[in-house]
């Protein structure tokens, strides 16, 4: 059987090579832009004195969730990260996650709307999403390198691809779940599709869309760690270093820092989602 191997890998490689050859000047240029933005963001965040930053996060969490435990927990968690000497790495990871998530949402939510509205788009996009979600995350890293070179842009690229599916799926689901009688009502009152989208679909689907965004953020965070293999640095980079040097303690410290960041983001986003529901 394996004597006559179908050239699956070869075809894909040729395709990507072709794209790289003709597109890499664009992607490399955009890599520069992204890197500059990221760098500015990072140094901006690092400019804030750490205690002030922690207080600001605490105030922000309190303002968004009104949850005392969560507020105190967030502040303590960040203090622990500071204490472990992982502050700069955390800020770097945070910047990466924020940029990647924003990209994923900016592409994913509108795409989700398209998929919800158009049956044709649904049929095309859904299988692609299945592939995107089941493909091992590491595979995305490989083509990212020729396009963007080693570094943060390649990391963001593969993170966006990896974390976008829930944003698309949940947006689509939220809109398709709108009760039929409300849809009929908006039609009966003569609403256009756009009016229905903004007056009914999006407001009503927003808790579901928020749940999708939450998932996207979590996936982005996990991917950012994996992407450290292609030079994402940050907390993932710390873990990667620890693996290579077999520093168990150091590895766990970085791991704990990731967990803290993930929990803060997750709880705050969840609260935002459910608050809209009530």
């Amino acid at each position: 059987m394996s004597q006559y191997k179908l050239p699956v890998g070869e075809v894909i490689e040729t395709g990507i090579d072709f794209l790289v050859e003709h597109l890499s000047f664009i992607t490399k240029a955009s890599a520069k832009v992204v890197e500059t933005v990221l760098g500015a963001m990072e140094s901006g965040l690092l400019l804030v004195p750490i205690p002030v930053f922690i207080v600001l996060v605490g105030v922000g969490v309190w303002f968004l969730t009104k949850d005392r435990k969560l507020t105190v927990g967030s502040a303590l968690g960040l203090a622990l990260i500071w204490n472990m000497g992982l502050w700069a790495a955390t800020v770097s990871t945070l910047a990466l996650v924020v940029v990647a998530t924003l990209c994923a949402i900016a592409i994913g939510v509108p795409l989700g709307i398209c998929v919800a509205i158009s049956k044709g788009a649904y049929k095309v996009v859904m299988p692609i999403l299945d592939v995107m979600q089941t493909m091992p995350a590491f595979v995305y890293l490989i083509p990212a390198i020729p396009f963007f070179g080693l570094g943060k842009t390649a990391a963001i690229f593969s993170t966006v691809i990896f974390s976008m599916p829930p944003a698309i799926r949940f947006t689509c689901l939220g809109i398709r779940q709108i009760p039929a009688e409300l849809v009929e009502c908006s039609t009966a009152f003569g609403a256009t599709r756009m009016q229905r989208l903004f007056k009914l679909d999006l407001p009503l689907a927003s808790p579901t869309i928020m749940a999708g965004i939450n998932q996207t953020v979590m996936l982005a965070l996990s991917m950012v760690v994996i992407a450290s293999m292609i030079g994402a640095k940050g907390l993932g980079g710390e873990v990667w270093k620890a693996i290579q040097r077999l520093q168990m303690g150091r590895g766990f410290e970085a791991g704990i820092a990731i967990v803290i960041v993930a929990m803060i983001l997750d709880r705050v986003l969840q609260k935002l989602g459910t608050r809209k529901e009530n």
């Binding site: 009760p179 009688e181 409300l182 009929e184 009502c185 908006s186 039609t187 009966a188 009152f189 003569g190 609403a191 256009t192 009016q195 007056k199 009914l200 407001p203 009503l204």
Partner: protein
């Protein structure tokens, strides 16, 4: 011109409506079409009209096609064949824009499950239609507020739908439709989800509103009592086809077929039947100018009755004579009835409900005369015939 005119309307559910229409025209039944080519017949050759300012109730069991029929009127469902004219304009040839205009301005719709937007306040819900029209916020909220007070929801504007009871939610639904000041209201089982007491209140309220507003209302219901109460006319549907169109009384007293008859047999007949439907058209009357006591006595003997109503030459009711008093006059040899006529008698109009007749007739020593507004003699109700008429209809008796 009829406000809504529908002719030969069909709705077939399935990929090949032409085939099903062909089969229908060959006389194949709905069930057989379903069995052979898996096409559903939603509406089968419906023809009717609705006049300005009347309430027409479309009634039938679930699955009879009444919801489909009404959704064809504003093309929420596109009919397979036929003609729908609203104010003389064909709905089926309208393009998207015209259709939206029609829905936005001319037709308000009220839904069975209220269909309120949960993320909007009551006021914003009531303003929805106006918002879709593109009206300025201030203006639309003002109109919505007026609509809310019209349905008795003053001061509830800032609440959310889930904070309201079912009846109140449906008032919001009604206000949302009324805010458009549409000519036509389509009400799809609007009160069916409410409990019986609230439902009755809402029906009364709709009747009140209708007296003031005179909208053209198409109301869907599966509840005959509701149909009889609200409908100026009733359209009865079965298996997608219209089986009978008529006033509540026509439906009750002359059911078109077995199906309608079965439908109406549970109704409390005394609420629906009127003096007109239980009275006898009596030819036995005495004419004031021509009939003397002897002629009157002869007529009574002939019809085997003890009292005779007296009318003048224009058929206006003058009074009643009894056999006894006529006999006295006859013995005296009088030529005129005038002396024997009792003019102080009870009369009822043709529209008087049958349930009121029992009270009126209870202590009446003579039959009850039915006269129209011009005091013209229409017929007679004797207690025997009243009870018999009711018993025949199987209602209160």
């Amino acid at each position: 011109m009829a406000k809504i005119y529908v002719e030969g309307l069909y709705k077939i559910f399935g990929p090949n409506p032409k085939k099903a229409l062909q089969m229908l025209s060959e006389g194949i039944t709905k069930d057989d079409i379903m069995a052979s080519i898996r096409h559903g017949v939603g509406v089968n050759n419906a023809t009717f009209e609705v006049h300005e300012g009347e309430i027409v109730v479309v009634m039938g069991l679930s699955g009879s096609g009444k919801s489909t029929l009404v959704r064809c009127l504003n093309r929420l469902i596109t009919p397979s064949a036929g003609k729908i004219l609203i104010d003389g304009r064909d709905v089926l040839t309208m393009d998207e824009d015209e259709l939206r205009q029609l829905r936005q301005r001319k037709m308000g719709m009220v839904f069975q499950n209220f269909a309120l937007f949960p993320h909007r306040t009551v006021l914003e819900n009531a303003a929805l239609g106006l918002e879709i029209q593109g009206m300025e916020r201030q203006e639309r909220l003002k109109l919505a507020d007026e609509a809310l007070s019209l349905v008795g929801l003053d001061g509830w504007g800032e609440s959310y739908p889930r904070q309201l009871s079912g009846g109140m939610q449906q008032r919001v639904g009604l206000a949302r439709a009324l805010a458009l000041s549409p000519d036509i209201l389509l009400m799809d089982e609007a009160f069916s989800a409410l409990d019986p007491l609230i439902r009755r209140d809402m029906q009364d309220e709709l009747i009140n509103l209708q007296e003031r507003m005179r909208k053209t209302i198409v109301f869907i219901s599966h509840d005959l009592d509701e149909a009889l109460k609200l409908g100026d006319r009733i359209i009865l549907m079965k298996d997608g086809a219209i089986v009978q169109i008529g006033t509540p009384e026509e439906i009750l007293t002359h059911p078109a077929d077995e199906y309608v008859a079965r439908f109406v047999e549970d109704v409390d007949i005394t609420k629906i039947m009127t003096a007109e439907s239980v009275m006898k058209h009596s030819e036995a009357v005495a004419y004031l100018r021509t009939d003397g006591p002897r002629a009157a006595l002869r007529k009574m003997r002939k019809h085997n009755i003890a009292h005779l109503f007296v009318v003048d030459h224009t058929h206006q009711l003058v009074g009643i004579v009894s056999a006894d008093s006529a006999a006295v006059l006859a013995q005296r040899g009088e030529g005129s009835l005038t002396e024997a006529i009792c003019t102080d008698i009870k009369t009822v109009f043709p529209g008087t409900p049958a349930q009121d007749l029992f009270g009126i007739m209870a202590d009446l020593p003579y039959p009850l005369a039915v006269v129209d507004e011009g005091n013209k003699f229409k017929g007679v109700i004797v207690r025997g015939t009243l009870v018999a008429a009711l018993a025949e209809r199987g209602g209160a008796a």
